[in-house]
Amino acid sequence: MNQIIDISTGKLLLAFVFIIAAQASSLFYHLGLHRDITIGALRTFAQLFLMGYVLTYILGSDNFLLTVAIFAVMVISAMSIIKGRVKEKQIAYILPTFLTMLVTYFATAVFVSGMIVGTTPWWEPRYFIPTGGMVIGNSMSAIAIALERLFGELRRQREVVEMKLALGADYREASSDVFRNAVTAGMIPSINAMMGVGLVFIPGMMSGQILSGTDPLIAIRYQIVVMFMLVGSTAVTSLIVMLIIRRRCFGVGEELLLSPR
């Protein structure tokens, strides 16, 4: 395999051609996206460089506490992104969601890194951090979609849910359709990704490994593990979060607490 070709600073700046093209499209069609594109591009640049330096330090440090701390910071960041997307004031969903994410993502990363890949120690930062990052990034979107759907649908279908409660349904029975739709909506992107992988697109991790000189047959093994891990962890995490938060949408008397907006 060939060694990876380094991208010089000058060539990196050349990549801004794509940003200029996006800006031009926005300006030409008055999309009003030029500000967001600029900020997004600058953040990508700054955040990834920062991450590069941090990863270089962590990968070289072999420090357990630091590895776990970085992992926790990644989950906190994911939670703050979810909080930004899910504008819910009435139901306290943040702490239980955060704790569920922390526990299940950690368990997934430990399982994949320590048992499937078999690193020693199990928290080997070179495997543990990227594995955790992929799990968190993928599952975060699913949870945000599912939570938004759960709160929105319970509000929209308030009368139907209350009708079922009035007919003797418990809170689970009264909200079963809404619950199912919310979890499914969160899961669909991960399932679609499994359907299209290798046919419609080459996943980022596999591309990265191939670009860095790894044998594609090894890269696909990693990618299969990653795809299964993403689907499994997303399903389990979003299901646990949904079960906890749905209960919180109902009071002690199983009355629907979400008032119409």
């Binding site: 009708m163 009035a166 003797g168 418990d170 029975e173 002690v252 008397g253 009355e255 607490l257």
Partner: protein, 225 residues
């Protein structure tokens, strides 16, 4: 000891963000087989009172006893299967009439109850002035009055001890409203069903002896028997 079917003691309720309670230290006793009519203008808390009885609203202050038991100690599904609440705007699912009628039997609390037979449902539809409605047709295509009668019929099928009717005729034309009132009076006489209904209309029972209250100035006042 014989307890009344429903007893409300010292019930107060304040809407979120409001400074004055909608009703305060409200008392009411409902005996088995009674027909209670509560009148009052909009915003006096009539619907809230019914919703508190079946725990669709969170209680704040006071006690509600059902057959002498504090309702907060009764499992909610069990309570709502015994005290059936029919909302002002009837809610039906996008399914045939028959499926809507059998919906309560899909819930755990009602699963041990005998499922009504097809011919019993047919006979009940006629009794509820729904003789032109089939069990197979879509429930969502019915008129507002038909939907309301179907919703009442669906509640009756679980054989509750008491029915709470929240403004059952507010969205109906006079003819449909008369049908609904006629049905509720008949349920009270022929099935000995205890009924508590709230309305802001001028309705007063014609064929039965009801107990009428007015909800105003944050309390219930007995009108006449």
């Amino acid at each position: 000891m014989n307890h009344p079917l429903l007893e409300i003691r010292n019930l107060s309720f304040t809407y979120e963000g409001a400074s004055v309670p909608v009703f305060e230290r409200l008392d009411l006793v409902v005996g088995s087989g009674e027909f209670i009519l509560i009148k009052g203008t909009s915003g006096t808390g009539k619907s809230t009172l019914l919703r508190l009885v079946c725990r669709l609203n969170k209680p704040q202050c006071g006690t509600i006893l059902f057959r002498g038991r504090d309702i907060t100690l009764i499992p909610p599904a069990e309570l709502r299967s015994s005290i059936s609440y029919v909302a002002q705007v009837p809610q039906l699912v996008d399914a045939p009439v028959g499926e809507n009628l059998l919906l309560p039997f899909a819930f755990r609390v009602n699963r041990k109850k005998a499922l009504p037979r097809h011919e019993d449902l047919r006979a009940m539809l006629d009794e509820f002035y729904l003789d032109d409605v089939t069990l197979e047709q879509s429930a969502l295509k019915l008129s507002a009055g038909q939907k309301q009668r179907l919703a009442i019929m669906r509640s009756i099928l679980q054989e509750p001890d008491m029915m709470l009717l929240d403004e059952p005729t507010s969205a109906l034309d006079p003819e449909s409203a008369a049908m609904v009132f006629s049905i509720t009076e008949r349920l009270n006489t022929s099935r000995k069903m205890t009924i508590m209904t709230v309305t802001h209309s001028d309705y007063r029972p014609e064929t039965i002896k009801g107990v009428m209250y007015r909800l105003e100035n944050r309390t219930l006042k007995l009108m006449q028997e």
